[in-house]
């Protein structure tokens, strides 16, 4: 590709002479069309300014509509007006200079001295303005220095008296070139008197085309309306001056002309009421056209739209591979892919042309396109030969890009293979929901079809879904089986899970195994056997499962050897010997099995694993059934006993603490006041109490699950780590514990108490927001109120933090988006500045790493020791 580097861009202000030179026509009349509907000569719609009607030719250049870009016109203003965008620049100059001699009102020696200083222009200007402000008399000519005031955007006052653009222009003309240089101007190219307009550049018609409505009425562009206003006032001003009208009237009209030019440039100028359309709608003038989300830059230049794309609602289909996207036939037949005819595929293409209507266009070697239809088909078949191209409908296996907004990630747009299906929605495997952050409550997603071989290969090599199983952020699995997937795997591989012959046959068959493996237990097959069939031969793994973690947490001092056998996972030569499959094996950021398959085998191995696991695990869940009932959360006497004891202990301890607090001999926590210490201790006490109850509940539940006849309920979710935690269970069946607002006990409410029914200055547990009840029992009124206080904070926090973090992320992503890794492995910005000498300081690309490390050393050592 030919690339040229822009060395510099120069912005300038047009001089009146330049405007006249640019102009193809001087506008003389405010009328646009005459009564017959023809453009007026010398009017705003004069054909010298460009063509907007197809077929007509431009009167200036003679070209047709699309070729002629339009020509500028000019308007001689009777009285000069200030260009509102330059008000500040003019003020700056007036502040620093003398109105009679045009020099900067600072002694020559000082100026010389400043000029030699190594400063930016901004700093110099600041210096000039500061010094000039204190100057009473011009050191060059001795005239008294005037006090200048700018009433934004365009009204100037000198010594509290209004000064008009004519006078300002004279002042600006006086300023010497040498002094302008001090202000950072290039006097040969730009003169401050041009900030005051004597001639207005009138944009070409192509920039403000009129629209003919169906009723035949012509509707003018906002810019044209504004220009008409300017010309009208300009003419009225002229008439009044010629007629010798009183100064007051002239000044009024002059101000009106100023208003119209100001709003012509920017209809949102501060301090100026926006010009309105007849209907009351504010006019969209020059600045409005460029600025903001709907402006030229963000809307038309950055926001270009593309062809070969589709958008539809998404629905799940677990029978698809993670690499596939189901595309409805209706969409597939509208999207096309070009295919080059070669000697090797010519036969096929001719056959496709004969048999189906899948080929939509034929492109000759010279680029001429022909639509394929029943009538033209025969001729076109004759023309097909290597070097020509056809454009055919999407078919199974085509590479497509799939995307969901907000695209925060590289995973928000991944490449998949097309799979044409009946229906109206895009279908995707629910496990790729995670990287897209999609769900099926009405989400829509976009699809793009790469059109070139280069595009297709790039998409497949860099963006293919299976290549993103390991996250580019933290280097661990991110496309994972979750929730039901984990729960199902857990149930499947539990110690006591037995499958009868029929079930076993079905599962093995789904994996393509037609011969039933041998079994150790009579006519039953274990779930571990079925799971093993999904793993490749030669895989060896051993680690502690989530069950181990849970047991350890419940009982930190217990002997590990006495733990349930499912706590320790062992895979030998692709055979699951012991242990249960859970979060540790499959989950996000953990997924030991997934990551090992990915790094030691291939992405395809994981893709196949998911393909089978999805079906079998889903089937297990529906067959075995995983559900919760109210009885699961019913408390039993044992729990009641533990709870009652815990509460009693808490109250005693709480009273003791409050007693100590009142006496002032409470043991202080380092860095805290007496009050803070009490609060903290009460919080800890509350947490401890809840923990005691929670432990007992979990003990019972786990015992039940690991027994010989387990029920499949929320304990499965907790133990497998798929969803929920012991805390959630405690909340339902045990007690809620201490309500918290901003990490402490709730404080706000009445003076010295939380709610009106509490005693003043009661700092005890119950008065401080402790909730003894659980969700099953229902809370007492007081407790319910405490709970709501904590709940409210949670609600507010999620609202605020999503907003704040979303915007923070956007800014960060935007500032980093064009960093790249150069050939010398340095991270560089778009202008080749070095950001890092080695990417991430260690040169590791997380997506190709083991959790951010370039190599999993312990794993490699393990392999060596074998």
């Amino acid at each position: 590709m030919l690339m040229k580097r822009i060395s510099a861009i120069e912005f300038n202000v047009l001089s009146p002479e330049m405007i006249r030179k640019l102009s193809a026509l001087e506008i003389k009349t405010p009328d646009t069309y005459d009564k017959d509907g023809y453009p007026m000569e010398g009017g705003l719609m004069d054909p010298h300014l460009g063509v907007i009607n197809p077929g007509l030719r431009c009167k200036t250049c003679g070209q047709k509509m699309k070729q002629c870009a339009g020509h500028f016109g000019s308007l001689e203003l009777v009285r000069p007006v200030i260009h509102s965008e330059f008000g500040k620049k003019i003020e700056e100059l007036m502040h620093g200079t003398c109105d009679s001699c045009g020099r900067i009102a600072i002694p020559e020696e000082k100026l010389k001295q400043w000029k030699e200083m190594d400063e930016t222009t901004e700093q110099t200007i600041k210096r000039i303005l500061l010094k000039a402000k204190k100057t009473k008399k011009c050191p060059h000519c001795g005239t008294a220095k005037k006090e200048v005031l700018l009433d934004k955007p365009t009204n100037f006052y000198v010594n509290k008296e209004r000064i008009y653009p004519t006078q300002i222009r004279e002042w600006m003309e006086k300023i010497t070139d040498e002094d302008l240089k001090m202000y950072g101007y290039t006097p040969e190219k730009i003169k401050p008197e041009w900030f005051i307009l004597t001639t207005l550049l009138v944009p070409p018609i192509t920039m403000r085309p009129s629209i003919t409505l169906e009723s035949g009425i012509k509707s003018e562009d906002d810019l044209t309306h504004k220009l008409v206003d300017i010309i009208r006032i300009n003419m009225r001003l002229k008439d009044n001056i010629d007629a010798g009208a009183p100064q007051l009237i002239i000044e009024d009209l002059w101000d009106l002309l100023q208003y119209h030019t100001t709003t012509f440039f920017d209809n949102n100028t501060a301090g100026v009421p926006p010009a309105k359309h007849r209907s009351g709608r504010a006019l969209r003038t020059l600045v409005q056209r460029l600025k903001g989300k709907k402006g030229r830059f963000r809307y038309n230049l950055t926001g270009k739209r593309v062809n070969h794309a589709a958008r539809s609602t998404i629905t799940p289909d677990p029978f698809l591979s993670i690499n596939e996207i189901g595309i409805p036939t209706g969409i597939a037949s509208d999207l096309t892919v070009p295919e080059l005819v070669t000697e090797w595929n010519k036969k096929e293409i001719v056959q496709m042309m004969k048999d189906t209507d899948n080929i939509k266009y034929f492109v000759r070697a010279n680029g001429m396109r022909k639509k394929v239809s029943e009538e033209t088909k025969k001729e076109i078949i004759e023309e097909i030969e290597p070097g020509t191209k056809i454009e055919r409908e999407l078919k199974n296996g085509d590479i497509i890009l799939f995307n969901r907004q907000p695209s925060l990630h590289r995973l928000s747009m991944m490449a998949h293979k097309a799979r044409i299906m009946p229906g109206k929605t895009f279908k995707m495997n629910p496990i790729v929901c995670k990287p897209y952050n999609a769900d099926f409550d009405g989400d829509e997603m976009n699809l793009h079809v790469p059109q070139t071989e280069e595009g297709k290969t790039e998409a497949k090599e860099l963006m293919f879904a299976q290549k993103h199983i390991i996250s580019p952020r933290y280097g661990a699995p991110t496309i994972i089986l979750d929730e039901d997937g984990v729960s199902g795997s857990y149930i499947l591989t539990m110690k006591n899970n037995k499958l009868n012959r029929e079930e076993a046959m079905q599962y093995f068959y789904e994996m393509g195994i037609t011969e039933l493996p041998k079994t150790k237990n009579g006519n039953y097959w274990s779930g571990k056997q079925v799971f093993s069939a999904m793993l490749p031969k030669g895989l060896n793994l051993a680690y502690k499962t989530n069950t181990y973690k849970q047991l350890k947490e419940m009982n930190p001092e217990a002997n590990e050897k006495e733990f349930h056998e499912d706590s320790f996972l062992k895979i030998e030569d692709g055979e699951l010997i012991s242990g249960v499959i859970d979060e540790e094996s499959l989950g996000e950021g953990k997924g030991k099995i997934i990551q090992t398959l990915f790094t030691e085998y291939s992405p395809e191995a994981v893709e196949r694993f998911y393909y089978y696991a999805n079906r079998i695990v889903g089937d297990i869940l529906t067959k075995k059934g995983m559900t919760v009932g109210l009885d699961e959360y019913e408390t039993n006497p044992e729990i009641e006993k533990v709870k009652a004891k815990a509460i009693k202990e808490e109250q005693e301890k709480g009273e003791e603490l409050t007693e100590q607090f009142k006496k002032g001999n409470l043991e202080l926590i380092p860095g805290r006041t007496l009050e803070e210490s009490l609060e903290l201790r009460m919080m800890r006490l509350g947490a401890k109490t809840k923990d005691k109850v929670g432990k007992e509940i979990m003990r019972q539940k786990v015992e039940e699950l690991l027994s010989n006849d387990p029920k499949y309920n929320s304990t499965v979710m907790i133990m497998s780590g798929s969803r929920g935690s012991a805390i959630n269970l405690t909340n339902i069946a045990g007690m809620w514990g201490q309500a918290a607002v901003r990490e402490g006990r709730p404080k706000r409410g009445f003076i010295d108490r939380l709610i009106a029914t509490n005693k003043r200055k009661d700092v005890g547990a119950t008065a401080g927001g402790f909730i003894e009840q659980n969700f099953m029992q229902g809370m007492k009124v007081k407790e319910f109120f405490y709970h709501s206080m904590g709940g409210r904070q949670g609600e507010v926090d999620t609202g605020v933090s999503t907003k704040v973090s979303g915007y923070l992320y956007r800014r960060l992503a935007n500032s980093l988006k064009d960093l790249n890794i150069a050939n010398d492995e340095t991270a560089r910005s778009a202008n080749e500045n070095i950001i890092q000498f080695s990417y991430g300081d260690d040169g590791v690309f997380p997506m190709k790493s083991w959790r951010g490390k370039s190599i999993n050393i312990s794993r490699e050592l393990e392999k060596l020791n074998k």
């Binding site: 190594d118 150069a822 010398d824 340095t826 560089r828 080749e832 500045n833 070095i834 950001i835 890092q836 000498f837 080695s838 991430g840 300081d841 260690d842 590791v844 951010g852």
Partner: protein
């Protein structure tokens, strides 16, 4: 210079400076910069145009080396 949180800064010798600049594309204006008025630079007594080597301890990559050009 010995500070708890400021990593080790040192002035790179002239011959080595050229070598390093050459290694990273040969354009010294593309290097990260540090102001002459920066407290570390004042402490080191470096001059405009010196290359500073910073040896940092990072949680992810361990010991890493960074260079910054002294500018005015």
């Amino acid at each position: 210079m010995n500070h708890l949180i400021v990593p080790i800064h040192e002035i790179v010798q002239e011959e080595e400076t050229e070598e390093i600049i050459k290694k990273f594309g040969g354009k010294k204006e593309k290097f990260p910069q540090i102001l002459l008025s920066d407290p570390v630079i004042e402490e080191l007594g470096a001059e405009k145009g010196n290359l500073i080597r910073i040896t940092r301890e990072t949680p992810t990559a361990g010991k890493t080396i960074y260079y910054r050009m002294v500018v005015k």
